[in-house]
Every structure is written in structure tokens, then in C-alpha cells.
Amino acid sequence: MSSASVAISMRLAPWLGPLRSMLRLGGSLLLGFAACAGIALCVGIDPRLMLSAWLKGAVEGPQVFETVARSMPLVGMAVAAAVPLRAGIVNLGADGQLVLGGCAAAIVALYLPVPAAVRLPMALVLGATAGGAYGMLAALGELYARVPLLLSTWLLTYPAKGLCGYLVRAPLRDPITAWPSSYRIEPAARLPQLLHGTPLNDGLIIIAVLAMLVVLLDRYTAVGYEIRMRGLNQRFALYGGVALGRQTLWLMAASGALAGLVGAIMVLGSQYRFTDGALTAPQYSWSGMLAALLAGGEPLGAVVAAILFAALQTGGFAMERSVEIPRVLTMVLESMVILFLAMRGATWRRLR
């Protein structure tokens, strides 16, 4: 090899890795869409019609705002999943943290005897705190009783959902609603609208700022470096002096707090009351988890993937309306993309 071509390949080298992973990502997405087209054929629907309805429904006209509004909780949950995933920790309990955050925020916004302008920030902070404390609880379980986080986070979602479901059925119940939910939060304690006539609220800004913060922390600080090192090789991080236990604790607290904050924003900014099941039914936390897995825990990639998933989900509604394909197909597509990606293996072996 001549020296010139060596120089060129040296210059290209840093791009080859990302290029290969982009190709792999594109391939998985294509395979996922192909599988969905196959499913559509099986149930007797023209796949071209389905695809055009799906993609158009995501970006056409006022649908763009729907996509942006939907990407708020999705980006939040994707970052919540990505923060511990970056260190190789899987938080499967985002649903419980989300619900606790929403419930705590609703209680503060409804019952705390202070002016509404104070109640709003307090509700946001306490919602995040509730989620964070619950995430920390799972981490404590692993540190002190060696209960694997993978199981404890998942198992803890059930008591959280049960508790909040009970609260809005008995003590907090607004009797005029058909579905068990709390009273309506007064307008002064709600998150203000960002653009009138659209479903966007100030929560979008909060989540965008936090997501940016996580990206910066991940890239440019010592803390982020330690987390990334652990994700690459836990033993090396330990050897390098990272206090793994304390790191687990704070990663889970941060992840839970982000999930709790998303719940608080949903309650204070768009639902205006805590309704049983309203936060978990759209499966934001699972889509967020899949988005984080798609990016391998890298926060910026997780944000991009979450926005992509938000667009696909918004398109799913249009698809359901116009060609009568159940929009659950979006979930099928998302999980298939991750499945194909994980099957290609080698990059993911590290997570073990």
C-alpha cells in the first residue's frame, strides 16, 4: 500500500465505524418496514397504501405539531432509559416511575396550600423527586440485597401502578368522571401553552433543555466519561477508581427522576388530571426504551430515534383511520428493528 492511500485510509478511519453502524441501522429499519409490509399483505391490505398513509400521516400539515407534541414524552423516556443504559444498566421500571411522578405532581398541584404560581414548579420538582426516589430504591436493592436491577425495576412497577390506581379510585377521586381520575387542576397551576392552537406546552422546552444537558454531560464531563467507561468495560472502570455502587445509585435516581418529570409534565401540561392508566397506556416508556436501545445508550442518538418513533406513532393514527390497519403495528415495527439490530450482534455483546 502506498503512503498516500495509507494517509487517506487513516483520515477515513474515524468515519468508518459510524458509517458501518449507520448502514446497519438503515438495514434494520428497511427490514422492519419490509416485515410490516409482509404482515399487511397477510391481512389483505396493499402495503404501498399502508406505507404512504403511515409516512404522510406523520408529517402532513398540522400533523407535524402532533408529532412534536408526542416526541416530548418519548424523548424524555428515551433519555431516561439511555442514562443508565450508557453504563450497561437496564431500567425496566420506567412505567412505575412515570406514574408515581404524575401522581405526585397531581397531588401537589391540587392540594398544596400555597399560591398556584409556586405550586407549579413544586409539582414538577416533587414529581421528579418521587420518580427518582423510586428508581433509587431499586438501586439500593441491588447494592444491599443483590437483587438484580433487571428484575427489581420491573417488579416495582406493579405496586406503584397499584398504589396510584387505588389513590384515584378512593381518596382523590373526582366523582363526576367516568374513568377513575383525580380532580381537574386549576388553569393557574398548569404548564402554559407554547403555541396557541397546538398541543405544545412548555414541557417541551424543559425536556429539550434536559436532553441537551444529558448529551453535554455525556460528552464533555468526567462524570460522563466514567459512565461511558463502565458501559464499555465495568472492570476497567472499577480498576480506574469509579465507585460503581454510588454510580448505580445516581444513575437510577437520574433515570427515575427524568421518567417522573415526564409524568408530571404530562399531567400538568396536557391531561390536567391524573387518570388511572392514562400515562402507561400509550407505552411511552417502552418506546423510549427501544429508542435508547436503538442508539446503544448514546443520548443524542436516543433523542433522534425517539423523534423518529414519535413520527411513526403519529402516522400510525392516520394509518388506522384511512386504511384500517391497527396502529399497534408501530410497536411491532419498533421492536422488530431493535431485534434485527441486536441479532447482528457484536456491538451488543458488551452489555453483558
Binding site: 404482515i39 391481512v43 437496564v90 425496566l92 436493592g141 444491599y144 440485597a145 443483590r146 437483587v147 438484580p148 433487571l150 428484575l151 427489581s152 420491573w154 417488579l155 416495582l156 406493579y158 405496586p159 401502578k161 397499584g162 398504589l163 390506581g165 387505588y166 379510585r169 378512593a170 417502552w286 426504551m289 427501544l290 436501545l293 390497519i325 391497527p326 399497534v328 403495528l329 408501530t330 410497536m331 411491532v332 419498533e334 421492536s335 422488530m336 431493535i338 431485534l339 441486536a342 441479532m343 447482528r344 450482534g345 457484536a346 451488543w348 455483546r349 458488551r350 452489555l351 453483558r352
Partner: protein, 318 residues
């Protein structure tokens, strides 16, 4: 109090609660013994439950339901075998995506094949008939629980014994354990390690199919979205608590069946069901914490109870 609490019906519910978890936990036990960490039990069960109802509804007979449930769940576990045994992908990522794929796919098919969302039930569907064992069903308190179950319940008990015996005493079991203990050493002894992993994963899929069958046609005949409700994860916890030994895993499953029935019973006595529904999950957590603390305060520290996939450390030598 004890008289009204521990009735024949209570023990019947215990056995009914144990069965699907036990079948799935056996699948998990086999997987872990061969050195794979299977957290896709939940999804495989859900696929089995859906396929059983589809078979019973469209085929009309119980045989169709059984065959379709086992075939569908085995095919679904083929994805796991392909991903983690053949391509060597991360089994946690593959497990999570398979669970979500199963949830999405079954809801999708429920809507497009049956035209309903939420729950599908059909009174013409054949359920698994309850048997009446001659002497056992005459027992005073446990008669109904032990003597009047369907064939699948008895099969699950038999399978515990069969899998324990097969793993312990047959050449096949020795090879499976060897692959789990040390993959490369097994290869160097001429064992087709990867083939064993694939076969065991598919076998686990069939077991999960039976678990799903029990769930959807065992006592009620219906399918509802996400009807597994975390049972697959409880099975994962049971495998961990039982350290992948079939008999210990059975004991762990009994604990969950018991707490499930206690929850149901407390609900009957007026506690809100949102609280009592979380009883099995809380009991699982408590059991995991107790087991973890026991490990922690042991004088000779044992290796971590976390099921690590390749170097199987938590089991002692056979």
C-alpha cells in the same frame, strides 16, 4: 379465621396460579443450564396464549389449540435461538425486544383476526377439561386442588421430575450442563454446543407455549391483551431463586402461587384489588431480597446470584 381463609377453593387457586409460571420457569431453567439468559419467557407465553385461542376458535377442537400454541411459541423462540445462540447477540436486548414484539403482534392480530381490542372470548371454545382422579379428589381440604385439575397441571408436575432427572442422569443432560458450565471446554470435548443451545431454546419455547395454553384455556377460555401480566418475569425470578434446579424452582413457584391466591382471598375480604393485585410481585421482591441478604451475610461469600450468561458461576459442580 383459618377455617374461612384456607378453603378448598383457596388451594385450587394456588395450584392454578402456579402452573403457567412453573412451565415458563422450567423453560428458563433449561435455558440457564445451557448458558443462555432467557428473559423472553413473557413474550413466548403471550404468543402461546394467543395461538391457543386462535386454534380453539378457528380449528374448533382442543387438539388444534394445543398444536398451534406449541408450534407458535416454538417458532417464536426460534427468533431467540437465532439471535442469542446463533448470532451471539445480547440476550437482554433480544429478550426485551421479543417481549414487546409479542405484545404488539398479539394485539395487532387480535384486532385484525378477531376484530376486537382488549379481550376476546367465545363460549364455544373448548377449554381444558378438569379430570377427576379416583382417590386423590376425595382428600378433605386438598382434594380439589390435587385431584381435579386439568391434564396440563399434572403434566407440569411430571415435567419437573423429567427435567430434573434428564439434566442430572442422562448423557444429554450432562452435555447441556457442560455447555452451560464452559462453552469452549464443551466444544473441545466434541459437543455440538451451539446446537444444544438452539435445541434447548426451542424446547423452552414449547414449554412456554403450554404455559400460555394453560393461561388462556386452563380455567377461563379467553385471550386479553398482555394477559401474561408479568408472569414471565416472575418465572425469571423463580429460576434465579431456585438457582436453576428444577425442584427448587418448583418451590419458588409455589411461593408465588400462594401469594397470588392470598391476594385474591384478601380482595374477597374487602381490600381494594389495585393493592392486592401487586401481592405476587411484592412477594417475589421480598423473596429475592431475603435470598440476597442470606448470601450477603454468609460467612463464606458465594458468587453473585445474578444469572450471568456465559461463565455459569452460581451452580456448584455436579
Amino acid at each position: 379465621m383459618t377455617n374461612s381463609f384456607f378453603t378448598a377453593q383457596f388451594f385450587d387457586q394456588v395450584v392454578l396460579g402456579i402452573t403457567p409460571i412453573l412451565l415458563a420457569a422450567l423453560a428458563g431453567t433449561l435455558s440457564q443450564t445451557v448458558g443462555l439468559f432467557n428473559i423472553a419467557l413473557e413474550g413466548q407465553m403471550l404468543v402461546g396464549a394467543f395461538a391457543a385461542v386462535a386454534g380453539a376458535h378457528f380449528g374448533g377442537s382442543l387438539a388444534d389449540a394445543v398444536i398451534l400454541a406449541v408450534l407458535a411459541a416454538t417458532a417464536f423462540s426460534g427468533l431467540l435461538a437465532l439471535g442469542s445462540a446463533v448470532f451471539g447477540g445480547n440476550d437482554i436486548v433480544i429478550g426485551i425486544s421479543l417481549n414487546l414484539l409479542a405484545a404488539g403482534l398479539t394485539s395487532f392480530l387480535l384486532r385484525s383476526l378477531f376484530g376486537v381490542s382488549g379481550t376476546f372470548s367465545d363460549s364455544n371454545m373448548p377449554g381444558l377439561p378438569r379430570l377427576h382422579l379416583p382417590w386423590v379428589s376425595q382428600l378433605p381440604l386438598l382434594g380439589q386442588a390435587l385431584g381435579e385439575q386439568n391434564a396440563l397441571v399434572y403434566l407440569s408436575w411430571l415435567l419437573v421430575a423429567v427435567s430434573a432427572g434428564a439434566l442430572r442422569f442422562t448423557p444429554w443432560g450432562l452435555r447441556v450442563r457442560g455447555v452451560g458450565e464452559d462453552f469452549r471446554a464443551a466444544v473441545s470435548f466434541g459437543v455440538h454446543a451451539q446446537r444444544h443451545q438452539v435445541v434447548v431454546t426451542l424446547l423452552g419455547g414449547a414449554l412456554c407455549g403450554l404455559a400460555g395454553l394453560q393461561l388462556s384455556l386452563g380455567s377461563l377460555t379467553l385471550f386479553s391483551e398482555n394477559m401474561t401480566a408479568g408472569r414471565g418475569w416472575i418465572a425469571v425470578a423463580a429460576v434465579m431463586l431456585g438457582r436453576a434446579r428444577p425442584l427448587l424452582v418448583l418451590a419458588a413457584c409455589a411461593l408465588f402461587g400462594f401469594s397470588d391466591a392470598v391476594g385474591l382471598r384478601l380482595q374477597g375480604q374487602g381490600l381494594p384489588n389495585q393493592i392486592t393485585d401487586s401481592a405476587p410481585y411484592v412477594a417475589t421482591l421480598v423473596a429475592l431480597i431475603v435470598a440476597g441478604l442470606r448470601q450477603r451475610f454468609r460467612i463464606v461469600p458465594q458468587p453473585s446470584p445474578l444469572p450471568t450468561p456465559q461463565p455459569e458461576a452460581s451452580r456448584s459442580a455436579p
